[in-house]
Symmetry: C2
Subunit: 371 residues, 2 copies
């Protein structure tokens, strides 16, 4: 499917929402498919919290499929025979875009704790530069779930003329206290590591134990209760009788240990720190009298997808976005899908999402009318 990996380098300052400045930025990205001559078939696919620019296909080095491999590929919902998919790595994320692990131009050494807090809007500004570089004035669609959905909304607000249509999945117009609470504890799990050193660990051993704990903690929120029951139930690692000890003896314990171990070397702890903090600050209403005002410039159709079983970003939150768009007269469809996977449904359980997505991309306006 013509996968390409690259890093776009921008040697001019990026002004951040915080008022701070990054002297230069890199944006790592992958593309799938081909940009047509009219340059109007580009789809921007925006990753979630632990994702990267690797959205589709198997990675040659690790063998891991991309985070949205179920949806992106030849003949899939986001058909790479038809669309040119651009998958950028968020600012602050592990994966190659500028982050706490990048060299600070002032010192030549990794930023670590000196890296400024970057917002989701800041990521979108970095992606706008990437779009310029790729010669994409207007995306056919900008799509993402969860953290990727937040990015899609910032695109709708900040660069509405460049968003031909938008797909926002499993998101919310603003981060709630409950979610900030989750992120706060997740960050504390990372900080619990003796190697943490306030985030300045790039010269020594990384805080893998803290990162592992954070990853296990996160798995409790990414997977629904129903998925846990279906996958593991009361299954045991071995034998049928209780061991009456503390060693992992339930299959679910062994699974979580694996989640913790696998995070090491794959995710940079600072990436989770900075991206979760960016989520804490995410609030599309900020600076506006009404949420609708944030989306006032956006006229393209929008597809919003929520999941009945998502207790982090309930369908009511998504409906608030739908209502805001409706208040502006923007064509919008909000579909609530029923998936046992809950919040992570859009990543793997794409059976019901895929037809929605492909119909919308094929003809965004028509798909809305049919709804």
């Amino acid at each position: 499917m013509n996968r390409r990996q690259a890093i776009a380098r921008f040697d001019r300052p990026l002004q951040l929402d915080s008022g701070q400045t990054l002297a230069r930025i890199d944006v790592a990205y992958e593309t799938y498919g081909k940009l047509n001559t009219a340059r109007d078939n580009a789809v921007l696919a925006l990753h979630g919290l632990t994702g990267t620019q690797h959205a589709a296909g198997d990675d040659a080095a690790t063998g891991r499929p991309g985070w949205w491999d179920a949806a992106i590929g030849p003949g899939r919902a986001i058909d790479t025979d038809r669309y040119f998919v651009v998958a950028p790595n968020a600012l602050g994320s592990h994966g190659g875009s500028t982050s706490a692990a990048s060299p600070d131009p002032e010192t030549g050494r990794p930023y670590g704790s000196r890296f400024p807090v970057v917002t989701i809007g800041d990521s979108v500004e970095s992606q706008a530069r990437l779009a310029d570089e790729l010669g994409i004035e207007r995306f056919h669609a900008v799509a993402g779930g969860c953290f990727g959905g937040f990015q899609a909304m910032e695109w709708m607000a900040r660069h509405p003329a460049r968003v031909g249509s938008a797909v926002v999945i499993s998101a919310t117009p603003r981060t709630s206290a409950h979610n900030t609470a989750l992120w706060s504890v997740l960050r504390d799990a990372i900080r619990s590591d003796a190697n943490w050193n306030g985030g300045d660990y790039y010269d020594g051993a990384p805080p893998d134990a803290g990162l592992g704990l954070a990853a296990k903690f996160g798995a409790l929120f990414w997977m629904s209760r129903e998925v846990f029951e279906a996958k593991f139930g009361l299954r045991r690692v071995a034998g049928e009788d209780p061991d009456y000890g503390f060693a992992p003896e339930f299959a679910v314990e062994a699974f979580l240990d694996g989640v913790g171990t696998n995070a090491a070397g794959r995710i940079d702890a600072n990436s989770l720190m900075y991206l979760t903090r960016a989520i804490d600050y995410f609030d599309m209403s900020r600076g506006h009298a009404r949420l609708a005002d944030a989306f006032a410039g956006f006229h393209g159709p929008a597809l919003l997808v929520s999941y009945t079983n998502d207790w982090r970003y309930p369908a009511d939150d998504m409906q608030e976005i739908a209502d805001a768009l409706a208040a502006n007269g923007t064509p919008c469809r909000h579909a609530t899908l029923d998936s046992p996977a809950g919040h992570g449904g859009f990543l793997y359980d794409t059976e019901r999402l895929s037809p929605l997505l492909s119909d919308f991309l094929a003809n965004p306006g028509a798909a809305l009318q049919a709804a």
Copy 2:
């Protein structure tokens, strides 16, 4: 209300479900009200995971109210002018009953990691000894929520003739994979502490940082999303604009920091380790062809209360218990209450629970017929 604090000491071995033996046990307890001359007005109140025998009234030393102060007291749902409330401390729990912090009779030093895993059934056996000592052959009612509800069910199964009636709140007939996952990560949070030392920390500094992290983690599961939103929303510690840093700046972050700090000195880390492991092993079906068989000996009426908003122990789980009792012809009422507090509803949000409880206790059979 005639509060009494005591420790019952039993200098004979207790055989545990694991096959191991405790050479002797202590059972710390409080009582409220007076045992009548017929000795038939005793209500056993069983605490949750972080509770102790301090169920009602303000503690003289700490000023803290008991865990079920909203329900136990003169004129309250469990009326101490009428009932003699016995609140024991579970085996393995902090509070004074035999636990990992107790001296191992073999060495005279705290058990620490040598303390055996005790089950919820083992706790019930310790409480049966306490009932003997207090001269209570049969409780008017045995009541508890969550971990306390599990204890109440073990009472119904193991000593059915001593349970005049049962009140089981926010519980499940068996611990699910999702809950075991939660406990597994909570225990890892404790283990992350440099002072943990495998549980043998009684000679040095306690693992307060790990305990604090576990307590914060737990708060995410004890409080519902709705409670977080109602209590904190997007409220900030100071100012109105984002600080774009990592210091606690949202009210919910400051709250969680307090939860972490307050756990130190109040909860023994090993208590959370052993009690959560006891919950992992909790399965009323174990050893039975049907759940109903576990409750075959129990004939007294039962009141089961679930909360619509409890995603840890959904109403369906409670209904499974109700169905099992119904299959035995045991009078039972299952009420599902609507509370934004979700799982922790029975502790604080007692407005709708209290009338149910007081009617049931006043005349268990009649309250069921009226339902």
